[in-house]
Structure formats: C-alpha cells, structure tokens
Amino acid sequence: MSKLLQLLEEDCTLTPEQLASMAGMSVEEVKAQIKKYEDDKVILGYKAIVDWDRTEREAVTALIEVRVTPQRGDGFDRVAERIYQYDEVESVYLMSGAYDLTVIISGRTLKEVAQFVGERLSTLEDVTGTATHFILHKYKEKHLIFEKQEQQAKEWIFS
C-alpha cells in the first residue's frame, strides 16, 4: 500500500488507471485505498507547487524562529495551535535545539509579514521571543528545482 502513497507523493496528477498499473492493483482498489487514506488523514491534500516569481504577483515568505513557554498539560500543542490557525501561516514545526517552533508564513509584502510578527505572533502570551528570516530566493522545494534546467540536446542515436 505504501507504493501507492509513494507514487502519489511524487505525482498526484497520475490517474487511478495509471496508479493501478504502476502499483499492480485494480482501479477499484486504488480508488478505495485513496479514499481511505483521505478519510484517515494519511493524505492531507493535493497542491501545485508554484513559482510566484515567474508571475506578476508579489509574494514574501519568512521563516520565523519562535521561543515559547510550554504549558502544563498541553506542552507546546496549544500555542502551536493558536499560531497555525492564522491563514498566513504556511507551516509550523516543533523543533529540537535553540528555539521551539519554526513558523513559515507568506504575505504579499514585507510590511504585511512584519505586521503579522509584531502584532499577532509576538503578542501571544506564551511567546517569549522571535527571530524573523526573510526568504530571498527559492532554489528547490519538495524535490522540485525552481530554476529552468538546461537540457542536453537530443541526439537520435540508435541504441
């Protein structure tokens, strides 16, 4: 079954027919299994990875290190939840090491991101400190390279 997940993680545009051949399952089995994965939240969703720099739209992404005071009973979960509820927040990870949470947020402008950090994030009562790093350029994400790769010229060799 993990074969199906592996195929979908690489390319979720594969059709049930293609997935069935590739994973050695029937089309019905594939559809049923995908539904089960979705119901069980094993598969969270399907999204395109977009390079906004190639479009007209302005976008700013920041990685924020957040230090928080863990709460009795809830640990970090409650504060993480209060952070991830914001629409601007793309990702939240609990970290080992010098700080506690990594928060990745995107906004349309630098000001928008700064406002979020200053007004929403750092004012949360359990947050004891933040450090904001703006992402200047994306090279690779989810195994996909942003730069257009130069291709070797195609030669028709009979092999």
């Binding site: 594969l14 293609q18 051949s21 590739m22 050695g24 195609k154 028709w156 060799i157 009979f158 092999s159």
Partner: protein, 395 residues
C-alpha cells in the same frame, strides 16, 4: 579518388542501418513524442557526477592502467560478487572498456578466425553481426519466437550449431524484446553445449533491470562458467550512457588477450569516467533500485495500455522495452512506424531494424516520462482506430 576501390571489402559489406532515414524525419519533427530512444531518461545521479568533477578538480587527467584503475576493478569485482554472486579476480579477469560496445568488439576480434561462426539470436541489438563480420567471422542469425517470450531454446540452438560454430552470443535481458533467460533456460543451453568448445559472449548490460526475478548469468552455472565472457557496463544500470564506461570479465586467458587489443586500440578508458564509476560501484546500489522501481511502474502501465488498445504483447521481464505484435494491423513494421510518426507524431522503432525475427513487431521504450507514455498510448489508440476505419472502407 575511387574510394570504393580503396575501402576494405569487409566494411563495404557491412550494411548501413535502415533506421537512419526514419531518424532523419524525426530530427525535422520538433514536437514528436519519443518512445524511440534506447537510453535512460534519468540524469546520472549527482554523487556520481560529483566524483567525476572532483577528479578533474584534483587534476587526475592522465592515463590509467590499461586494464583500468585497480581501485575500480576491485570495486567491480566486489559489485559482481555482491549483486550477482559472480567471482572474478580483479587483477587478471576484469578489463574496463569504453562502454559495453568496446567489450563486444574486443571479444569478437579475439575469438573469431575467418570462417568461424557466431550464433546471434535475433531480434537483438544491432552491433553483434557487423562486429563479427569485421572480425572476420560469420554471423549466423537465429530467429527467436514470440511464443517462447523470445527466449533461446535448446532445440533452436541445436539447429544452428555447425562444426564451424565458435561462439554463442547471449543478449539477455534483451534489447528490443525485453526477454530474459532464467536458470532453467540456461541449464537447457548448457546441455546442448556440453562436450563442445563453443564459447558464450553474454551481453549483460541490462542485468540490473529485471522485474520480478533476479538476473541469472550463464557464468552462474558451473557448467557454463569457464566458457562465458561477460560484457557489462554502467550505461543502463547507473544512467551513465555518455560516460562510456563498460567492462568485460571471464577466463583469464581470454581476458588477457582482450587487454592486449584494448591496449593498442584504446590505451585506457577515460580517467574521469573511471573515478565516477568507482563512486557508482561503491555507493550506487540505491540509485539502481530507485530507477528500476520507476521503470517497473511505467512498464506495467505501458504493457496494460498496449493490450487495452488491442496490440498483443508478452510481458517483458527485463531491460526497458515493450515489443508489441503489430501483425494484426496488416502493416509491415517499417510502414507502421513511419505512418504512426507522420500521422500522430510518435516515434517507436521498427522491429525489422533488429534483425530478421523482428518483423511484425515494434520497440517501445518506456525510459521516458509517464506523461509521454500516456499521451503516446492515446495517440496509438487513435492511429489504430483510424487505420481500421480506412481498412474497412477499402476492404
């Protein structure tokens, strides 16, 4: 100058490949989808490329030992033992060549005397016959059959052996059929060869690309071991076609003679490629599995797709080709390929290009993206539907 008069008779007798004209059309057609090229669509894994680059940075640009760097031959010996249970002495039984092709050429030139026959099962890759002829030998083509999944049977082999037979070429896993030879098939071959002095040239360039079963080399059978010369390389297993890295291994007495010829003709295989190959042998097993897994998914999809649109094909268990039977269309293989290309802009290769036994079949390579395979299948379906309509109108 009358060049025809000056060129050797042998080279003039070698027929040019008929595929060139087809490729000329293709080169003009910029947006064609290709299931035609016979090489991995993957780029060489980065750690292997990096090792090649690093060797250049360090200035390792001189010749290596004629047989190849000892370090590389040691790694090849350990790889063959680890993955195929084959034991060869790195110092005397392995020579690193410029691709598998050079290995085939060396073997044929070192073994064939004028009049010696080399049995070449076909359809298979096109180089064996011309190279055997250039070496002074006589190629004897032996047609394999689709109903046997293009395996070589004992009866077929028996029928081809004459007192002049010197060598049997075993091109398995096979380009273009995807056919393989399993242990019991090889055991049957061994029985036929018992008591003869016929040698085996086993081209195992696709050995890592088998699906559902492990590759068995004739050299894995004790009764065939001493008469087998293995040709292998990095092109298909590690997506390294352009590095031109291959090797031969076999009986010391034969390999040492091949080394003599290699030394005069080549000197040594490219040094940076050898450094990259060391890395491939040392840490490349994971890359092989990953690529094979990927090919396997595409293979299943293409086989099922071809059967669905009405082209029978046996399940290929090796290499990265499917070899569907197009006899039901009433077209020759050449016509099928040319019309398919002109009408639907998809390139597949005529089976007739791979020797007499290939007529009636076409080679589809699945070392290409799922998107292209999928689109090629849709267009193939269109092509066949239109063809049937036309034929119905005419009939």
């Amino acid at each position: 100058m009358n060049y025809e008069h000056l060129l050797s008779t042998r080279i003039q007798e070698v027929k040019p490949s008929g595929i060139r004209r087809f490729f000329d059309i293709l080169e003009e057609m910029k947006d064609a989808i290709s299931l035609g090229i016979g090489e991995p669509d993957f780029v060489t894994p980065w750690h292997i490329r990096d090792a090649g680059i690093y060797s250049l940075e360090k200035g390792f640009t001189k010749y290596t030992a004629n047989a190849g760097m000892a370090e590389l031959r040691r790694e090849i010996a350990s790889y063959l033992d680890r993955r195929f249970d084959l034991q060869y002495d790195f110092a005397s039984q392995i020579v690193v060549t410029v691709g598998g092709s050079e290995g085939i050429d060396l073997a044929l030139r070192c073994l064939l005397n004028p009049g010696d026959e080399a049995i070449i099962p076909v359809p298979s890759f096109v180089c064996y016959g011309p190279l055997a002829s250039m070496a002074g030998g006589t190629p004897v083509y032996l047609q394999l059959k689709a109903e046997n999944e293009f395996r070589l049977t004992a009866e077929e082999l028996k029928s081809a052996i004459t007192p002049r037979t010197k060598l049997l070429v075993l091109p398995f896993p096979c380009n273009p059929t995807g056919g393989i030879m399993e242990r019991e098939d090889l055991e049957a071959i061994a029985q036929v060869l018992e008591g003869t002095e016929i040698l085996i040239l086993s081209d195992e360039i696709y050995a890592e690309l088998t699906y559902g079963q492990h590759h068995v080399s004739p050299a894995n059978l004790p009764q065939l071991h001493d008469r087998t010369i293995i040709v292998n390389g990095f092109s298909k297993s590690h997506a390294m076609t352009g590095w031109r890295m291959g090797y031969v291994c076999g009986p010391r007495e034969i390999i040492q003679q091949m080394l003599k010829l290699h030394q005069f003709g080549i000197m040594s295989a490219p040094t940076m490629s050898q450094y990259a190959a060391v890395e491939a042998m040392r840490s490349g097993d994971g890359d092989i599995e990953k690529m094979r897994d990927e090919y396997d998914g595409r293979r299943r999809y293409l086989v099922e797709g071809l059967r669905r649109i009405g082209l029978p094909c046996f399940e290929p268990r090796g290499a990265f080709y499917v070899f569907p039977d197009i006899r039901g269309t009433g077209l020759s293989s050449d016509d099928f390929c040319e019309r398919f290309l002109m009408e639907e802009k998809v390139a597949v290769i005529s089976g007739a290009a791979f020797g007499p036994g290939g007529e009636g079949f076409v080679r589809c390579c699945y070392a290409t993206s799922m998107r292209d395979i999928s689109e090629a299948l849709t267009r193939m379906d269109n092509f066949l539907t239109n063809l049937r309509k036309k034929q119905a109108r005419q009939g």
